[in-house]
Symmetry: C2
Subunit: 489 residues, 2 copies
Amino acid sequence: MEACRYFVLLAALLVGLVTASLVDNRIDQFELDRSGINSCNLPDGLLQEIKGYQPIVNKIISRIVDGEFAGITWDSLSLLVDTFGARLAGSEQLEKTIDYVVEQMKLDQLENVHTENATVPHWVRGYENAQLVAPFKKNLPLLGLGTTVGTPRGGIIADVMAVESFEEFESITAEQVKGKIVVFVPKWEGYGKTVLYRSKGASVASKKGAVATLIRSVTPFSIGSPHTGGQDYEEGVKKIPSACITVEDAEMILRKYRRGDQMTIHLEMEDRNLEPVISRNTIAELVGTTYTNSSVVVVSGHLDSWDVGVGAMDDGGGALISWKALTFLNAMGLRPKRTIRAILWTGEEEGYWGARGYQAAHKENEKKEFNFFFESDIGTFEPRGLDFSGNKDAECIFREVVKLMSSLNATDFETPTDGGPDVSLWTRRGFPGASLMNKNEKYFWFHHSAGDSMAVEDPKNLDKCTALWAAAAYVVADLSVSIPKDVND
Amino acid sequence: MEACRYFVLLAALLVGLVTASLVDNRIDQFELDRSGINSCNLPDGLLQEIKGYQPIVNKIISRIVDGEFAGITWDSLSLLVDTFGARLAGSEQLEKTIDYVVEQMKLDQLENVHTENATVPHWVRGYENAQLVAPFKKNLPLLGLGTTVGTPRGGIIADVMAVESFEEFESITAEQVKGKIVVFVPKWEGYGKTVLYRSKGASVASKKGAVATLIRSVTPFSIGSPHTGGQDYEEGVKKIPSACITVEDAEMILRKYRRGDQMTIHLEMEDRNLEPVISRNTIAELVGTTYTNSSVVVVSGHLDSWDVGVGAMDDGGGALISWKALTFLNAMGLRPKRTIRAILWTGEEEGYWGARGYQAAHKENEKKEFNFFFESDIGTFEPRGLDFSGNKDAECIFREVVKLMSSLNATDFETPTDGGPDVSLWTRRGFPGASLMNKNEKYFWFHHSAGDSMAVEDPKNLDKCTALWAAAAYVVADLSVSIPKDVND
């Protein structure tokens, strides 16, 4: 208690001393004084300051959800995906979309609208077809995985073997695998675990002489749709064609294999990897009243998508709420102390190439340039709250910010997290950040499939996500203190 | 009340007088005496007789759901669909399945196992491909509809128009439609109403000069899968290619059309109609102790399916519970007074051609031959009860039979109904019948799509359906009275 009382006293004193130019220094002091304290005891002045944002947060939410901005996010997203369709890295459709967004952001009167180049892979899906040809003919809907090689012309016809896990596969000799198409049929055990079969299956199978891999789509629920996604070939291992088939077909093949049924598949894939190309991150700002190019608050989502469906959910929603949050704050005449920068990443799906390029280009002054990273890339269903990454001091401040979102019923707070795939390039190194938590229980039903469409997005929920995004970014960007960070390189 | 007391008295007397040979006559008497009475006041003797089946019903249910038969229905269905795949009328796979089922029914020691010929259509799906080629390229997953004609070789390339309803289409001139691909995008308003766009869309559009129709798949929920199904060309109207596309793509096309976007689709379909062929209904019996070829209780489902998915749900489940109900009653040594006949119909999907053939062949003595028709063709999810069709007297008896299913929690009773598509050929004319009500809220999610697979079927629920089927058929077949009917021709 003694340490605590001392801390409160000192903190209150410090808050009193704050001037805009001292913000970053003061925070260092604040961090120092909190050493050894685990629970949050924010300086009372700071606590009151955050609570003081409640009226403005309520106003932002009400005008976006129920006021003149209601429905605009969905309409804008719909117009974008209906006009340009899917936006695979390297495609003309993605670049046309970027041009369009730049133009629209300018019409929205956002500031410093521009693009920044980033090199992205250029993988192209060709004609793909798989048929069970024996013991009976059955079309096997499939989607080649990003970076997969194709089959030779005319395809390959090979016998099939199926396993449920890498462990089971280990027990099988190379002799048994050689020349076969290996079907991996992992049970759904959450995305993080199950996706390893998609990302590593080809090389695991290739090492034992498989000629191709077909993998159960990475989803807990299916209506006969295959799901695509990225995959990695291991260095020095022969590259073999790799695709996802449906849950239904994968499970059937596993049952048949276990019963001893001989199966033959004809697999034809004309997928190919071309030379990397230059794409662009799309950027717009609401320039801060006090800081312009330092202590920036980033709100982000990625504009690229896979080439199936139209990428309305992954990640059209995340990109649109980041863009429209700025548009609506601007239209409301709300300008915080710090700059809010919307970044619509490119080339995320193949391994966040847009974010990598951006990070490299902004590396030198990054500690000074960036204050906080928001990213939305796990759906824009009804928002629940924010998922935080950062040090304890930052957490204590951000917990209070999230409490302001009560009128959205979106005050859930979780930590730690990596902040989202793109911004994890910063948050994993100690920059504070947050990602949008939402009621996304069905996210993986649609993920990377033909089901990723406007049918997944609900106008009211999208409004709520934009409102949460705008309100949280506004408060973080306007606070008297920057959010503390411990950056490790 | 007077009439009622008199009735009960008389009925009790009649029940007392019953002998097996008088059953059918007595029922006529029973019907006569009930004239003018609307509510059920079954003769007490009959009521007590039905209630007396409770122990045997409980035993049937417990041995199928929790005893030595548990899991067998799912395993048998899985083996069937995994071995033969989809079973389209006219296909070799269907005929091989029929041969296999005949053999298995004999191994199950069922009686009078045989097939009866029926002529079925022979429509064949060929290569199908649709691409939005302008304003951007997008693959449009599609499934041609049963009986559709194909496109000319190389396909057709045409501009697109889209409407939400037939009413909207009426307001459009033939000039505007001519040469176009018409996309119908009806809202889901339940299967019965929405399916009209699938069944009639082609001819409606053709009359105004459309070159093809694409229809929103008939489902309330989608993950990017198209759904097939039957369709009818109107006599004298030019036949144009007709297919279902996904809900997602249909809705996108409608939005784009309403915004004034020009769209062009390249549609290629090699579907074709061949000469009708002979298929077979598959039949087995548990011969009655008292009646052999009269007063038969039919339990049925259809063995054919569409050619996408494997038809595990539509109607592998219905076929299997009908077959296995007999197998398990037989194995338990339970043999009712009347014959229970399992009929696994052929060619249902194209318009119940198996049932039509069977009806024609059995027409002459049908009133004497058939007592009751069970059909399961709306899923074999967790059973809820039975959906009844028949006259008031029959209803009164059957209501009491359904009450016996309390240990399955499946005592829901609804009426009127048409009894299911195949048996409606009889029930619509006054024969009594019932179909399996089950928790099939998601039935149309999977219906006629690649999602119709074993993943939809749950072993425990299938056991419960088989148990309900076996118990209800047993009681109806063993009662001292036949179920009353008023057959109109």
